[in-house]
Amino acid sequence: MDLATFLIQVLNGVQYGFMLFLVASGLTLIFGVMGIINIAHGAFYMIGAYLAFWLTGVVGNLFLAIVLGIPLMVAIGYAVERLAITHLYHRDHLYQVLLTYGLILIFNEAQKLLWGTGFHGVRVPAILSGAVPLTDTLVYPHYRLFISVVCLGVAAGMYVAINRTKLGMMIRAGASNREMVEALGIDIGKVFAIVFSLGAALAGFSGMIGAPISSVYPGMGDQILIISFVVVVIGGIGSIKGAFVGAMLIGLADTFGQVLLPELSSMVVYALMAIILFWWPQGLFGRRV
């Protein structure tokens, strides 16, 4: 592998990592704050992608579709939290896995009823349809660069929101000591509802912004779900920083695994996860749960 190809593969790995981070951040946020394992996170991602497809068709522009889609995702997340998740806060992880699995089945069927079973594409907005030449045969699309910038923005935004705002303070406090927060008169139920809605919106947003490169099809949520969990677990469940590092590691490991170890490529990320958990049983940046 020459240097140019190596650098291109690094770029690919990092970019894939950014995308993974975007999906995984919502997952880790929900777990870190609420202690809920939400395996329906992939379904939110899928719903987001379908909303992007549908709304882009209606309003004619992806950005406008995303602006309209995010409130919808927040509403869906809020409804799910109020109707189902709220009964799970004092229950074992086992039941969380099970209930959210039930949600996957329902969302998948709902998608089928609403949008049918075909495959759909979403156009890249015209201003981002160009590309940067890398070699004489290879170019890099502007839209992928744009996604990377957005992911960095989201990461920075989450960092600021959690460390510098009142909501962030409540979230941090709720994560570390639920009883104390309640004793201070903060409605923890409300904080949880907000966090879950935000998490769902993040997953949906990932699906929307990723739609032009992922395309939109039934069952797309299942594929992203497991790999997002790997990212979250490597980084340490509940840690945004961990999710970022985990996403980068997985993005690079997967990319280079495919090129260097094609026979074993898909085992590479899981082997990496096993090794990391062997040395850091709580993940890289995890705390005891």
């Binding site: 086992l94 099970l98 699995y101 898909s266 085992m267």
Partner: protein
């Protein structure tokens, strides 16, 4: 593991019912019952981990599928293989895999344990998925069911549907008795102590990780046994047999049946398979119905069918079920759990 008289009577009646099924039901239901009993063994093995040791494995199908692949590999294309040899290879293979995975996994706990078991089963999944010699994602056939011959005369020919049915039934009863025995042994008391309060058990001087590992190996080997039966039954194994969907499905069966009861998961297998059969017939959207059903179980039937059954017969569920609500809650003292039959729930 004391059980009420009503329950003991019910279980005996159930076994008797299973024993006469081949004479009453048609070919299809006999086949379906075989599948249910195999899933029952698989579910019981997971219950040892989830319901008694407090380890939630999301990768239990790894052993189920691995064992099937071992059978596929050792069975020649020319004729059946000796039952004992095939069984030994499958069980040994599952045990070794469980020892290796368990050795790494029991160091973690809670969600990390869920995820690391998932990671390992996915590694197995992708290994077989990518192995062209073993049929990659399409899977591989086993053309002959194992048998036992003595001087050219078939003593046990699993190729015969009735022989196979009773072999599976005997396996189910045998697995139940075996696990009951394990749980009544001193070892069984310790792993239940681990589940109730690991720190306390450790403080009492038990090397809890080692106990968890042994429990994991027993469960993995028994899951391998179920996988051996399944592969023998269908003559087929594919990567999907060890994917996370299978692991999730068997978890659902255990919870639906009632964790920490052993017989509950078997009932869970029964109910889930029959529900699937019925839902498929009444609606195109049966997965939607299934989704609502699963949620309803979580919200309204936390002790599963076993809990419901216990309530109906007025008996208390066997020890362990009440933890369903609190899960790994370390505050529940082991004492009160053992006294659950006497009426004290924590």
């Amino acid at each position: 593991m004391k059980m009420s008289r009503a329950l003991a009577g019910f279980l005996c009646a159930a076994v008797l019912g299973l024993a006469v099924t081949p004479w009453l039901a048609g070919e299809f239901y006999m086949d379906l019952m075989i599948r249910i009993m195999i899933l029952g063994i698989f579910a019981m093995s997971l219950d040892l981990l989830v319901g008694y040791t407090g380890l939630i494995s999301f990768g239990h199908a790894a052993f189920f599928g691995l064992s099937g692949y071992i059978l596929a590999i050792v069975t020649p294309e020319s004729g059946p293989i000796t039952l004992w040899y095939a069984l030994f290879m499958c069980l040994a293979g599952s045990a070794i895999a469980a020892a290796a995975i368990g050795w790494v996994s029991v160091r973690t706990s809670g969600v990390y344990f869920i995820m690391i078991t998932l990671a390992f089963s996915q590694m197995f999944f992708y290994y077989f998925n990518g192995s062209v010699e073993l049929g990659s994602s399409d899977g591989i056939f086993i053309f002959f069911r194992p048998d036992v011959t003595l001087g050219g005369f078939a003593l046990i020919d699993l190729g015969d549907e009735y022989t196979f049915y009773y072999f599976v039934l005997a396996s189910l009863v045998g697995s139940y008795l075996f696990l009951t025995m394990v749980l009544r042994s001193p070892f069984g008391k310790v792993i239940q102590g681990v589940r109730a309060n690991e720190a306390r058990t450790r403080a009492l001087g038990f090397a809890t990780q080692r106990y968890k590992l042994v429990s994991f190996i027993i469960a993995g080997t028994l899951a391998g046994f179920a996988g051996f039966l399944e592969a023998t039954h269908t003559g087929f194994v594919s990567p999907a047999h060890l994917g996370w969907h299978e692991s999730g499905m068997i978890l659902i069966i255990v919870i639906l049946g009632g964790i920490g009861t052993l017989y509950g998961p078997v009932m869970g297998a029964f109910v889930l398979v029959f529900l699937q059969d019925k839902f498929q017939e009444i609606s195109d959207l049966w997965l939607l119905l299934m989704g609502f059903f699963v949620i309803a179980v979580v919200l309204f039937l936390p002790h599963g069918i076993a809990g419901l059954f216990a309530r109906l017969t007025g008996a208390r569920p066997a020890d362990g079920t009440e933890v369903g609500d609190k899960g790994l809650a370390p505050t529940v003292p082991a004492k009160s759990r053992e006294g659950a039959d006497g009426g004290g729930t924590a």
